[in-house]
Each structure stands twice: as C-alpha cells, then as structure tokens.
C-alpha cells in the first residue's frame, strides 16, 4: 500500500494503481473521455490531466501510476486552463447541434463544456464532414461527431475482440471506420453495440424506433432473458415502453451485451402479444375471461384425475420463466395435481 494526497485528502491505495483510481477510491471525480478500465491505458484525450506537485508538466491521471507521498491537485487553475484548451480544440471540429443531437443529456463533451463554461470554440477552422454510416441494422456511425477518443476501436479489439473497426487515414482526415471504409454492414461487425455503449459523444448511436430524450426515461436494471450468460442490463423506459437497452457491468458480462440482449427487445411491446386468455370452441380459439379459462383447465384436471389418475397429466415448465415460477409450477404439478410429470427443455 502507498499513501498520497489528493486535493488535501490522504489516500491509501494498492501499489500500481493510477492517480485516477486513487482519486475514484475517495470519490474525487476526474473527467475522462477515453478512459475505460477494461482497456489498456492509451491516454488519447488528455482531459483527465492533473497537477502533481514537483512534476514538470501536467500528467494524464488515467495512465500515471500513483506513488508514495505524491501531492495531487485535480481542479487547480492550471488543470482547468488545460482542460478548457482541450475542449476548445475539440469543439473547433465538432458540430454544435446539441438541440437535435440524440446523445444530448448523456454526452460527456456536452457535460464538460457546461462544467468548464465553453460555449463555442475560439478557433475558426475547417470542420470535418462525413456521411453517416447507417448500413448496420441496429446502430449508426456519425464520424462528423467523433472526437477520436479511440474507445470504440479498443473496445472492439480488446473487449469484444472482433476487430471490426479501426482508425482510417491520417492527420485531419483521421476517422474511425472499417477496413477499406467498406461500411459497417460489409465488415466483420457482429452488432453487439459494445462500441456504441462506450462512445462518449453522439458519434455511435443506437437506431431509434421512436424519439425520446435521455432525461425523459426511467432506467431499470435487470438480467437479459435470452441465453445463459446472464448479462446485466438496463432497460430504458418511456411511457410504459422499453425504448433502448444498455449494458451494465455485471459479474458475467464485463459490461458487454450481444446483439440479442442489446437490440432485440421489440417483442416486449409487439402488437401480436397475447392479451386475453383463449379457449377452443367449435375448433377455433376464442377470447374468454380468466375465470372461464381457469374453470376449463380446473375441470379438465379433475376429470382426467378421476378417469386416468394424476399421472395422465404432464407439465412442461420453462427455462425462460423466473426461478420462482418454475418452483410454483412444480408445486402445482406435485402438490396440487399429484404427479412428478414435470420437466422443461433443458435437453433441447
């Protein structure tokens, strides 16, 4: 363990930790654009600079190791000046369309410009302009908004390990793209959206089926209902409707989702969902009340039990239903109907 001082507070932390980690451990927030603890440090954005007493220049807190006796200031005058300069430069090459940008409300660039009072850039230069890549079914890439933090590229190559995207061209022309700029649909991209979740700005965005603002939604943390990985996710809800799904860091998913968990949620609100019980009458299924449906089932159970015994009734429970629901179905079959004829599709 080593001890250092951050903004006047003593911090004790494991050797090898970064200044950023030390600050986080006592709740001191240092802004970042390119940092993600799953990635090898790459220090691209430098917005996380801090002042270390005795050091010749400001250091990037996300990649500089904390050392014993270090004295750190995270919001000193020189730090603020440096951050303002970085933001000023970024904004020089970024559209100012926050009014209509879908990222508004959870854009790190927007938040930092607000925090450090940058209204517009003091530079007046050429702005980049790219066609949006909308070829992927589930998300789009708008390189005009990219701040080249690199997170998406590294998430794809180090976390998702698909290597679908990379930096293309050099200098002012540098942008994130696919090999030979063939577009996402023709790339090896598996539509996991993990790069999208990492992008700090509106350059990578899920395609929306309806309009919403991030401040209008409620977030509900839950578990994916598809495969057995059990990824943790948040459902974004507006007006009783799931409008987006985002990954959450859980034990099994390391902040990732796949295309099914992330983008295949349309079934929830689908018009063909069953809304009323149905009973077959004269060969066709007709909508009935719950009461009637329960009566039909209960009568049939009683009838079969009387004529053929409880073992003439079988139940298939569901590997998709809740644990609690599986329990209750086994109890229905075993305790109420009186048979061990209960199974589910574990084998299929």
């Amino acid at each position: 363990m080593i001890t250092l001082n951050i903004n006047g507070f003593e911090v004790e932390i494991k050797e090898g930790s970064t200044i950023y980690q030390a600050a986080s451990s006592i709740g001191v927030k240092i802004p970042t654009l390119c940092h993600d603890e799953r990635l090898k440090p790459h220090g691209s954005c430098r917005i996380c600079v801090v002042e270390v007493e005795g050091a010749r220049s400001l250091v990037a807190s996300c990649s500089t190791p904390a050392s014993n006796g270090m004295v750190v200031h995270t919001e000193s005058e020189s730090v603020i000046t440096a951050r303002r300069e970085i933001l000023d430069l970024m904004l020089a090459n970024h559209p100012l369309d926050c009014l209509t940008c879908e990222k508004a409300g959870r854009c790190t660039l927007q938040d930092l410009c607000y925090q450090y009072d940058i209204e517009e850039s003091s530079f007046d230069g050429k702005k980049k302009k790219y066609e949006k890549d909308t070829s992927n079914e589930f998300y789009y890439a708008d390189q005009t908004k990219c701040i080249l933090c690199g997170k998406c590229v590294y998430v794809c190559s180090q976390v998702q390990n698909t290597d679908a995207i990379c930096f293309v061209d050099r200098g002012f022309e540098t942008h994130v793209g696919t090999p030979f700029d063939l577009g996402l649909a023709k790339s090896t991209c598996v539509s996991c959206g993990n790069c999208v979740a990492a992008c700090p700005v509106g350059a990578l965005m899920p395609k929306r089926k309806e309009k919403f603002r991030y401040w209008e939604i409620d977030k509900v943390k839950t578990t994916c209902s598809y495969c057995g990985v059990g990824c943790q996710m948040e459902l974004l809800v507006k007006d009783n409707k799931v409008v987006e799904v985002e990954p959450v860091k859980g034990h099994s998913n390391d902040g990732m989702l796949c295309v099914k968990g992330r983008f295949s949620y349309d079934f929830i609100n689908h018009s063909s969902r069953l809304k009323k019980p149905m009973v077959r009458k004269n060969g066709v299924l007709e909508e009935v009340s719950w009461d009637e449906a329960y009566d039909v089932i209960a009568n049939k159970i009683t009838e079969v039990k009387e004529s053929d015994g409880a073992d003439a009734i079988t139940g298939f429970s569901s590997a998709r239903a809740l644990t609690e629901e599986n329990y209750l179905m086994t109890k229905l079959m075993r305790a109420v109907i009186g048979t061990n004829n209960i199974d589910h599709c574990a084998r299929l």
Binding site: E137, T162, C192, K207, T222, T223, C227, V229, G230, Q232, N240, V242, G250, H251, D254, C258, V259, F263, S264, D266, F267, I268, N269, H270, R273, P277, M278, V279, R280, A293, Y294, D295, A298, K300, D311, A312, I313, G315, F316, S317, S318, R320, L322, T323, E324, E325, N326, Y327, M329, T330, L332, R334, I337, T339, N340, N341, I342, H344, C345, A346
Partner: protein
C-alpha cells in the same frame, strides 16, 4: 459450470468443444477470445469451422458424434506421456486402473479413423491441455445432444480428473447453459425425478420434508421427461399437457410426431405469443414477459440474479407465477403470495443451496450457489479440495456409432445448431426487423465438393431428407463443414427438427440425438 465465467481469464489452456460460443453465448465467446489473445492456449473441437476456430491454437474438425473417441485418445496420450496428475488421482478419484485399461484401444490411429481428425493434432491437443497449469473445459449441446450425451460428458470429466483440472481456479468442466434460466429451472426441480436442490423424489426423507412443507401426500414415482411425454400421449397414457413458455413444435425432434401428439392431447399453453405450439392448444393463457415482472434468473455459472419489472404487461397478461397461484386456488389448494420475493423465501427454506440468498443480498450483484448461510459469500469453484461424492469416480466409456449413421440412403450427417442473430424458436428475436433482415430464412451449409458432386450452387434450393421427412431450404456452399456433414440451424418452423430423431434417447438423461441425423441432400425440383 463448476467454475465461474471470470475464471476463463485465469486459465492457461481452454478446451472448447461442442460449443459455437461466439454465436450461442456471445459474451462468453468474447471473453474466451480475450483470454486467448492474452496468452491462454485455445483448443477448439467442432464439426464446423466456427468463428472461434480462427482464434484457436489447435482446431479439431471432428465428425459429429465422435467426441468420446477423441477424449479417450487424448487421455491415452496423456497417460502414455506421463502427464497425468498422479497425486490428484490417488487422493481424489476411484477406478483409475480400469479407466487406463479401457483407454488402451484408443490409439491415435484408431481415434483419427473415427473422428476424422489427424492423429498428430489429437496428440498435440492432449499435450497442450495436460501441460497447462490450469486448464478449463467449456462445452455445450454439441457434447450433450447425442444419444450417448451423458457418457460424452463423463469422458470429459475423466479427462479433467486425471489431469487434476477440477476444483481449482481456472479449471473445471463447464457446461454453457443455452437458455437464460435452465439452471434455475433445474435447481427448482422442474425435472421428473427431483425436488428443488436436486433432492430425489424417491428419497423418503426428501419426500417427507416436502410433504410437510406443502401439506399433502406426494408421489414417489419418477415422472415423464419432455421427450418421453410424446410417446406417452401416443400410447394414451397422458391425456392432458400443460406447457408454460416452451415451443416444442420447433425445438423438439421429429416435428411430425410432436404435432400428432400435441393435436391429440388436451393442451394448455401459456406464452407471450400464439406460438406454433399454442396454435394447437385447447386453452391459451397470456403471460407477462421478463420486462413486466420481478424475480430471479440463475445463469450458467449458478449465479442468482435479479429480474425487475420495467413496464406493465399488455392487456390482461399476467406473470406465470400469478397464473399458477390462481389455478392452485381454483383447485382448492390455498396459496397466497404477494410477490415473487415471498416465493423465493419459501424456496430458501426448502433448498439448502439457496438458503443464504435473499433479494436484499442480491440487490446489486448476484450470488453463486451453493450459498448455505446468510453470511456465506457464495461459491465460485465447485469441488474445491475433494470432488463431491461420486464425482471422482472414473467411469470408462466407449465410443458408439450413432444408429443414424451408416445407411446408404442417408450417407450424410446433419448437425443442428444456433446462429448469432436468432434465438431458439424465434418467438422473441423474430419480432425484430433488423434481425430478420440479417437472418431471414432456413439454410443448409454444405461443402463445395459435395455441392459440385450434386450440381448444387450457392443459394440454390435443396431438399434435405431423413428417415422422418424432407425439408427444402437454401444451400450455403462453404468449407466451414466437411464433405460428409450438413449443418442446419434449428430456429425455423418446418425446419431442421422435421428431420431429427425423437425416438433414440440417451439412456441416462433422455436427451435426443439432435446433433447426428442421417440425411441425404438433392437439388429441389
């Protein structure tokens, strides 16, 4: 899984077999790739050149249904090279001498002949697995969905045991569970032979415990499995079937047989949609989706995690547990739960593995069972120290040719599986437009030289025929599969499972041999 998912990063070697992980369990697939890129050795065995094969140090393109021969030959190499863990074998296993004896006939040449994998690759894979400090086996339906699936798993566990790769971080024999809550359903005793926590219905003590808790007399007769049920309906032994959230019309083998049975029986189906199965029902009940209820799912690493209600269910749809409860009351059994949490509290009392878990404890992060007490942190690695009783027994198992193989009329082997973009029977993924655009229809992967022989071109419609029927689909000509193998994803109706065999079941767990079907393929006219 015997070991947690995060353990994948701690293994020095990974043996992935019968699992197309990057498509069926994509987020675990990504973690396997990451481990391989960070230096772990990766061995992949599969009949298809799956995406993970590209990352592998050794790829074994194995004939479907021949894994036992592969595993036995690997063990034989390990023993001949003296790479077994003698100390572990001595202290933790039984029956080693007999196992060694049974392996002798599995020479590299013999195994190469059966599996279609070159002998030197089998040898290298064995040495790579056995020389690793910690080696983990990850497997899925490619191992289990065979008429000798249970024995195939036994041979994998023998491999792990003789090298001491069990009970330690980064090791284990790890089945990847296909559906979100298969683990939870099994834990709850949604199986014909056990109550919750795998307490046998035939055990008097267990039965008495549940009789007391539930206040009724219980049957000691083991019930019917899904696959046995259809036969029982045929034979008039089952008159009523209550299906909650399953779609056997697509997921079960031999669709025609399943359809006859579902038509005949009095059928209740409880689901989100009017599925292919629900269309045959006498009563259909509308259920709430996972986004519309509170509760838990248990993932493949035995982690009990929270599910939370985000939206209201449409129309009169209700959570399954409310439907069951109301029906129980209708049948004269008093049951009053106000929430899934109250049900969970009852489960805890009856299930030792769950006893220490509460909703409060899993509010932020799930807990892996066994978790016997409230101050127990949960269990990441099973069989730590000594394997559970019985688990250390080295049972010799022999390769057996599937009955589907070897008839001239059906010279090819069809194997089924999943694809990334669709899920199971598509009742959910099939509602997303983008998904259907990318994965619109059924297809058969066939090898270029087979295609040439039969005059089939890529994208052309072909007819695949087995003993049970014929299905037409598009051909995808690719060297992902070898010449004698045809791959068909099972997600679509009137598809792969029209062809599969539902009669031959694994003698231990009654799993059908979905991964090996004798077929022929012709251009459709």
């Amino acid at each position: 899984m015997t070991n947690g998912i995060a353990d994948i990063q701690k293994a020095d070697a990974l043996f992935v077999t019968g699992s197309n992980t990057t498509e069926s369990h994509p987020v675990i697939g990504a973690q396997i790739k990451r481990a391989a890129r960070n230096g772990a050795k990766l061995i992949v065995a599969d009949p298809r050149k799956i995406p993970l094969a590209e990352e592998a140090d050794i790829f074994l393109k194995i004939k479907p249904g021949t894994s036992i021969a592969l595993h036995n030959a690997m063990m034989n190499v390990i023993i001949n090279e003296g790479l077994q863990d003698d100390k572990y074998i001595r202290e933790n296993t039984e029956n080693y001498e007999e196992l060694v004896e049974s392996l002798k006939k599995y020479s590299l040449e013999y195994a190469a002949e059966i599996t279609g994998v070159e002998a030197y690759l089998i040898r290298e894979a064995a040495i790579m697995y056995a020389s690793a400090e910690a080696a983990s086996i990850l497997y899925c339906m490619g191992i289990t969905q065979h008429t000798n699936g249970t024995e195939t798993v036994m041979s994998l566990s023998n491999l792990a045991l003789i090298t001491g790769n069990i009970g330690k971080v980064g090791t284990g024999v790890n089945p990847l569970r296909g559906q979100n809550n298969v683990q939870g359903a099994c834990d709850m005793g949604a199986l014909p032979n056990v109550y919750t926590g795998y307490q046998p219905v035939t055990n008097t003590g267990a039965r008495e415990k549940f009789e007391q808790a539930w206040g009724v007399k219980l049957s000691d007769k083991i019930g019917l499995t899904v696959t046995e049920t259809f036969k029982a309906i045929d034979e008039d032994r089952v008159k009523m079937l209550y299906i909650c959230g399953e779609n056997p019309m697509i997921s079960d083998p031999d669709t025609h047989h399943a359809e006859r049975a579902l038509d005949k029986v009095f059928l209740v189906v409880q689901d989100l949609f009017l599925t292919e199965t629900a269309e045959l029902a006498d009563v259909v009940l509308p259920a709430a989706s996972f986004a519309e209820k509170d509760g838990t799912f248990v993932n493949t690493e035995r982690r009990i995690q929270r599910v939370r209600k985000a939206v209201e269910a449409p129309g009169e749809a209700k959570p399954d547990w409310i439907i069951f409860m109301e029906l129980m009351n209708r049948l004269g059994y008093e049951e009053h739960f106000n929430s899934a949490e109250e049900i969970f509290e009852e489960i805890r009392q009856l299930t030792p593995q769950y006893a220490g878990v509460t909703y409060e404890r899993i509010k932020n992060k799930g807990i892996q069972w066994p978790c016997p007490t409230l101050d127990h942190p949960g269990t990441n690695v099973l069989h730590a120290g000594k394997p559970a009783r019985g688990a250390g027994f080295l049972k010799p198992v022999e390769h057996l040719e599937s009955l589907e193989i070897g008839e001239d009329k059906y010279p090819l082997v069809m194997t089924t599986g999943r694809m990334l973009y669709q899920y199971h029977t598509r009742t959910m993924t099939g509602k997303t437009e983008g998904i259907n655009l990318i994965a619109p229809e059924l297809y058969a992967e066939i090898n270029p030289s087979l295609a040439q022989e039969k005059g089939i071109t890529d994208g052309e419609v072909v007819k695949v025929t087995s003993r049970r029927g014929s299905v037409t689909m598009k051909a995808k000509v690719t060297d992902r599969v070898n010449k004698e193998v045809v791959f068909v994803p099972f997600h679509w109706d009137s598809g792969a499972n029209v062809l599969t065999n539902g009669d031959e079941l694994d003698k231990y767990c009654k799993i059908p041999g979905l991964k090996v079907t004798g077929v022929n393929i012709e251009k459709a006219d």
